[in-house]
Symmetry: C2
Subunit: 919 residues, 2 copies
């Protein structure tokens, strides 16, 4: 025997089932199956180390390898009672590659190796089935010719098809033994012609050539390209093993069969035996679909003993692997062989159900159950989706901006959406070029949103995600003509009322109604997530701006609201005009007047939010976006003014007026209800208002709005705006407290870059707190904290921690500032190219950049907690719902993550996994 | 005696001259002067500690203080031979406040304390001068009444003026002894009427009240406001001392005199005695300007002994203080007293000259010489400035965008500027609403630039600073009408050719020619800066984009070019059209064709730069700004198109054409020379070109250009652009090397955020290096480095250091990203308010924010040098020329700073000071 150091070959009975790097995944698995007592056909594995040595030595097999192989073959001969090359009872083997990672592009399997003119006769002798033997022979010649000798399939297919044509048969099974004999002879000629020498007759020569071909394929172009494409590095898989296995046949009579099975139903997770089989058939017959396989249950009556053994195998597999198995078996002459097993691929529902049931059955523990499921996959269960069984061609494709699928009748503007919903009640899909805050009432009555412009951060996308409604954004092929109430997609015209279906998970848009499958927030999922919450260190909060969002978030298991964007509360038809008034006002008095009218509205919002979430915390972020975001665009206003002036010029009677009403209703939004435009003085008034807004839009213009006059900078410039919001929070808290409702509001300041800003705002908070406490007669309970979305805030975390009771990383903005990437610009312009060129592995706006942004966060956490040990520090923004990012948040010791409501379950599972993987 | 612990009063002979916090600046100075043997009138100082105790104890004098004062008064009586309250030979004293820092708003001096009805007679007896005595008496009553008793001056001024009127005298000196006697009596009545009690006769009561009044003034509103306004914290000055000093009089006869003097000429620094005096006069007479003082030299003949003593005093002062002194003296009856001395305030020329001469005279060493001068003040010597003796009212004021003053004839567009310069050769000032790259040829021929829009970072400001030309930007009162060739400022009209003067240091604009003083880069300054270079650790480089800039930078002592912005090289009339072609081209071929034409131009620029700077390093930054910055604005193009189309419609003959030529010449820039617009087909062509550019402008639109598609992101998207620039650098290097010229070019990549970007560019650099080496037959010498202007670059400094040979912090962009402030927006919108509200002490775009941006830089330096010890790391950008920022750069161990040429001397001095203060 060779010593361990230079041992290159392991029998299935001796190889370590865990040694995937050395034996490849397939080899290790065969060893494991053999060693736990499954009836695997005997065989052995040549190591990846042998492969690397072979390649290193300029395609020379390592010393001693052939001898080891010969020793193993002798052992196979002994075990099977057959002889390799034996003319009477020949041993046939399969040869296949197998690296540590499954890798398409590696070579295929060679079956029936060991056949030659002599052993062919032995096979006929043994089976008494000439057709079977010639069939096996011609298959071997082609596979070996192609794989080991590099002959193109074309050379074999041509004579094969010619004979089929001559014989008038369509399927291979129609060929007779004579035909196959003729084919085998032709194939041998092909090999001779293509390689310049005869087909190798010596089985050991066959075996050596096959082994070298497998080794060589590791450095072949296809495999190298694949590894580069999928970033497979040597530490993941290095070299390929070769598995040599005794052939077994399911097609040697009616006491033979072959099949594939799952230990449980992979579609539902139900604990029933699931699979199908064919009597007297080969594995490829099951796959090819020529004969219809029978459901596995039928075997119980057809082959009862075999079925009993299969059931035993099923149970043994689950017990050993603690996982649902997808396995292949062959029955040869009444003997059951297990050829392969692997973890069963299931849809998410089945994964969740089996996770819970495997725990209940004692096969796995709760930790294993939690680690079994990819958090991201839960999305399947949380949103309606297109029926996966239906295949339809999409009409257009945009960006998958908010997940879920929905069907509805197209409507082109928000006002008409509201009207139609009232009258018909039918499901609607709002289709617009892009949406604006003034369209918000249209969102409420629509099932889904579709836009032809804008990206994943467009208004439509962000609002739809917040509401949990499906959205496809920026479907560029669609041309929307609002005034004509129709859209064009190429030659297709969509009119108002036409039915369409959109899939916000894929970005596809379909004409007509496509069946959807409802979301299933199953009992098993609830159980699983309750286990997750027990293990997780991170709390999971939801981003929710209005009471409806909060209710939904609670259903998803949110432990509080981590981000309530108060400006979103302004986006309602009856509120926007007041907000506009506030912005356009030239004096503090005018502004204060508008704010006084907003106060009771916002207070009532908070009361409802706090009640809904009681006793959980609700983090309220004060006004953040630059105020020009509430205003129409300059171009829009100029257009409006041109049309209003034209209207005024041509105004002669109500006919003209009527003709322009629809125009005004869409352009004019909520500012100037169309009913009032009854005479020209009202048109004058509308012009005046538009002009005032236009003036303001120009005054507020910013070169880089992302880095502009926003967040706390607004709060300090216009203290009365923040004062109104602070008062609304504190009065709402008092109102709840007086009714015995436990509330934990947290006031959060956006865009902070220095502790002086926090001190400045705190002065107002304290003054208002005193006033409220006096007038309400009760001390409002609340916390005061800072967003960490400006780089400087991170650098000054120590100083900020002196002022703030909590921090919340706004990783959307922080990522923009850290990279100096404007998200809107980057995603449209150079980020795709950066991903493609491998300069950035991921889109940092989707996957938190641990190396840059994360490093900054880690420093800020360290510095902040250095001053305030155990400080509450969280993250809000889209990364808060992304599993890998959540793992990072766990690793730097954050207190919580906050994400959009529908992603809360995903985050809960990811948080648990982070804790489990860390411990 | 009280023990030291509770000692509140120090005689001038015992107080520590360094104990400014305890004794106040004035008190410590009086002690110091006394102890070095100057003849200071005897006196003592009550400590600031006594003041704080007084205020703490609710305005009660500390125990034992009065006794200490009395002991000191006894000592004064002994020293002077006079008695405090003595009816025959009375001792009079002055009482004045003095804290550690000079602080207007503290109380004035009380003179002649100790006078009452009795001692008045004693004064008359002693001096034989009734008028003198009554004059002293009435002064004392008023000063004491006002300062110690809080009576408004108005109550004294009214009767005083009434008597002057009655007597028909204009000046106080016209009043007789009788008049003054009457006034004194009236003043005593005023005090009685205002305070309800008689004027205190007891000198000790007077003294106690005066001390309490001084102490109280420390917590008075004026003083508190002043300290808040100027950020004077308790560690800078806490409490005020009280100085009690024997009165001496320069107005007791012709053997008396008073004067002020500088030990050297403060206007030039020349080592001559400089000052003036009056015989038989009081200090305030010198200041009041009623009598004309005589130059000090005249005393040599008028009072030779006194002059000899003064010369002795002058020499003693300089020797002791090692600094030019500004001192006050009084001669009483042939005895010279020194009343006060302080460091002389001088203009920069004088400071520089005296610094060098004091070293030559051995009075100070070079280190002291270097530390004497505020680096910023050198600006006075480096730019022409308005003659300080001329006072003119400015016509308008804008932002001081580039320092220096200049006069010239107004011209409103660049083309006309070039033409006029050619024909008349007269000095010009280019006045525009704002400037664009296509105006650059106008900059070259103008003395200065004036714009009515834009800030300190506008095109005009940045380019003018780079060229060292004065610029006033954003002078908002000016309305420019280019087509009519005139501008309005209120009612004033400025026509083309009118003379104006601008001062880029103050931002003022004047009508007509205002005399200016030339810059003086004196020999002394050269000497001083050579000493600075010996001490500094930091090297000082210049930002220079074109060979002319480089030559100027060399004169200022630049040790290399730290930043050559290659895109600035594109800004020339004959180059911009090629750049436009490159940008507008739709195919790689078109783009490459334009680049091929730019290559020889850019290579020639580099050859000249490298030659000029040889053997110093030249750091070349590859293309940085978003390419749309080279294009006209969308609105500009739309306007142009409207006018071109109108021209096409109305084109009937050459008259119309001529009428529109001027319009086109200003709007159309270099793209389409107006001479070619001879027929309508050429107009069509112009329209087509404009439309193509407009399309490109719209395609390139970015929401946040600061965070957009620029720098290395462009270099990776359009590798052919960077390839051209890299090739130009390397071929230029080879060209110089072949001629034996030593060159050290450094290729610098902007906007880097990840080391992958550097690796990507390095591949191109290496390929081009090989090609150039082959074709030129010589290996180009160069370095490869990275800008550090993206936050993530700092966080990834370790990884970047693996790829880069040097780093250069771009603190302009880094500050924007760290604060999330867009400079253009912030400086116009909220930064002034942030400064005012004390949220930010400084504008972080002018003063490097050490706490935030600086902390990030410090980490990046640590991380980068951890990988590459001793790595060359510098800073370019405007902070590189700012003294406090330079000090910070020194403190974190940077290798160099780079700033605009004219600031190089300032930076050199600041670098030396940083090193000296650190050692």
């Amino acid at each position: 025997m060779t010593n361990q150091q230079n041992k290159y070959v392991y029998s299935f009975t001796e190889g370590d089932g865990k040694a995937r790097q050395l034996l490849g995944g397939k080899g290790a698995n065969l060893c494991e199956m053999t060693q736990i007592g499954l009836n695997v056909p005997p065989g052995f594995t040549i190591t990846t180390k042998a492969c690397l040595t072979y390649l290193d030595q300029n395609n020379t097999l390592p010393d001693g390898l052939i001898q080891e192989v010969k020793d193993q073959m002798s052992a196979l001969e002994k075990a099977t009672g057959k002889g390799f090359g034996d003319a009477h009872n020949p041993l046939l083997v399969s040869v296949r590659s197998g690296s540590a990672m499954s890798m398409p592009g590696m070579m295929d399997t060679i079956l029936n190796l060991g056949m030659n003119r002599e052993t062919l006769q032995g096979e006929i002798e043994q089976t008494g089935d000439e057709r079977f033997a010639y069939d096996a022979y011609r298959r071997f010649i082609q596979l070996f010719g192609k794989i080991a000798l590099g002959i193109d399939d074309m050379h074999f297919d041509e004579p094969f098809e010619a004979i089929k044509k001559r014989e008038g048969v369509k399927e291979d099974v129609g060929l007779s033994a004579e035909n196959l004999k003729e084919i085998a002879a032709l194939f041998l000629d092909v090999v001779h012609a293509q390689t310049g020498r005869a087909f190798p007759e010596d089985p050991y020569e066959q075996l050596e050539l096959a082994i070298k071909a497998v080794f060589g394929s590791w450095s072949g172009k296809r495999a190298v390209d694949y590894r580069r494409e999928f970033h497979i590095t040597p530490d993941m898989a290095n070299g390929t093993a070769v598995n040599v296995c005794t052939m077994v046949f399911g097609n040697r009579g009616n006491d033979c069969a072959t099949g594939v099975a799952f230990t449980r139903n992979p579609g539902t997770g139900e604990n029933v035996f699931y699979g199908e089989y064919l009597v007297n058939a080969q594995g490829e017959d099951v796959v090819a679909g020529i004969r219809t396989p029978k459901p596995i249950a039928q075997m119980e009556t057809e082959m009862p003993e075999m079925y009993r053994q299969l059931e035993e195998l099923r149970s043994k597999l689950e017990t050993h692997y603690s996982e649902i198995q997808d396995f292949e078996f062959t029955i040869e002459k009444g003997i059951l062989y297990c050829l392969q097993t692997r973890n069963g691929k299931m849809n998410t529902q089945a994964m969740v159900r089996t996770s819970v049931e495997l725990v209940e059955e004692g096969l796995i523990n709760k930790e294993q159950a939690l680690l079994r499921i990819a958090p991201e996959s839960l999305e399947q269960m949380l949103f309606p989706r297109l029926d996966p069984n239906i295949k339809v061609k999409p009409l257009a494709t945009g960006l998958p901006a908010s997940p879920g699928a929905a069907c509805g009748h197209v409507v082109f503007d928000a006002d008409r959406a509201v009207a139609q919903k009232k009258t018909s009640g039918k499901p609607l899909i709002l289709l617009r070029e892009e949406t604006k805050p003034e369209d918000i009432h249209g969102f409420f009555v629509s099932e889904a949103i579709l836009t032809s412009r804008g990206g994943k951060t467009s208004h439509a996308a962000v609002v739809a995600r917040g509401m949990g409604k499906p959205c496809v954004a920026g479907a560029e092929g669609i041309e929307v003509d609002v005034m004509a109430r129709r859209a064009h997609i190429g030659d297709v015209v969509i009119k108002e009322g036409d039915m369409i279906t959109i899939d916000g998970t894929s970005g596809n848009v379909y004409l007509g109604e496509v069946a959807t499958v409802e979301a299933e927030f199953s009992e098993e999922l609830k159980t699983l997530l309750s286990w997750a919450d027990e293990r997780a260190h991170l709390k999971v909060m939801a981003n929710a701006d209005i009471p409806e969002d909060a209710e939904r978030a609670l259903k998803y298991g949110a432990m509080g609201i981590g981000l309530c964007r108060t400006e979103r509360m302004f986006n309602a038809a009856e509120r926007l005009p007041i907000v506009l008034e506030m912005i356009v006002s030239d004096t503090l008095e005018q502004r204060q007047d508008a704010l006084d009218r907003l106060l009771p509205i916002q207070r009532q919002d908070f009361i409802e939010l706090f009640k809904t979430m009681s006793p959980r915390p609700v983090t309220v972020r004060l006004l953040d976006p630059p105020i020009h975001e509430f205003l129409p665009s300059e171009n829009q206003l100029i257009d409006d003014l041109i049309q209003l002036r034209h209207l005024k010029d041509t105004m002669r009677g109500s006919e003209v007026l009527t003709a322009t009403l629809s125009l005004l209703s869409t352009k004019n939004g909520a500012l100037q209800p169309i009913q009032q435009l009854a005479d020209s003085s009202l048109v004058d008034e509308a012009i005046e208002k538009k002009e005032a807004i236009l003036k303001k839009v120009r005054a507020l213009f910013e070169v880089n709005p992302m880095l502009g006059h926003r967040g706390v900078r607004l709060g300090i410039t216009f203290p009365e705006i923040y004062a109104m919001q602070i008062r609304a929070v504190l009065e709402a808290a008092c109102a709840c407290q007086k009714k015995g409702i436990e509330v934990h509001p947290e006031i959060m300041i956006p865009q902070v870059c220095t502790s002086e800003e926090l001190r400045n705002i705190k002065v107002h908070v304290e003054a208002i707190r005193q006033q409220v406490e006096e007038s309400e007669g009760i001390a409002p309970i609340f916390k005061f904290g800072s967003m960490m979305e400006v780089v400087r805030a991170c650098m000054r975390a120590e100083q900020l921690a002196e002022e703030a009771e909590f921090f919340s990383f706004g990783t959307n903005d922080l990522t923009q500032a850290t990279f100096s990437f404007s998200r809107e610009d980057a995603e449209n312009k150079f980020l795709p190219m950066y991903n493609e060129a491998g300069i950035l592995q991921d889109n940092p706006f989707e996957v938190l950049d641990a190396n840059g942004v994360g490093k900054l966060m880690e420093l800020a956490v360290k510095w902040g907690r250095g001053v305030k040990p155990g400080m509450k520090i969280g993250i809000c923004g889209e990364h808060g719902g992304h599993p890998a990012s959540i793992r990072f948040c766990h690793s730097i010791g954050l207190t919580y993550v906050s994400c959009s409501g529908p992603r809360v379950p995903i985050a809960r599972l990811a948080a648990a996994q982070a804790a489990l993987l860390d411990s």
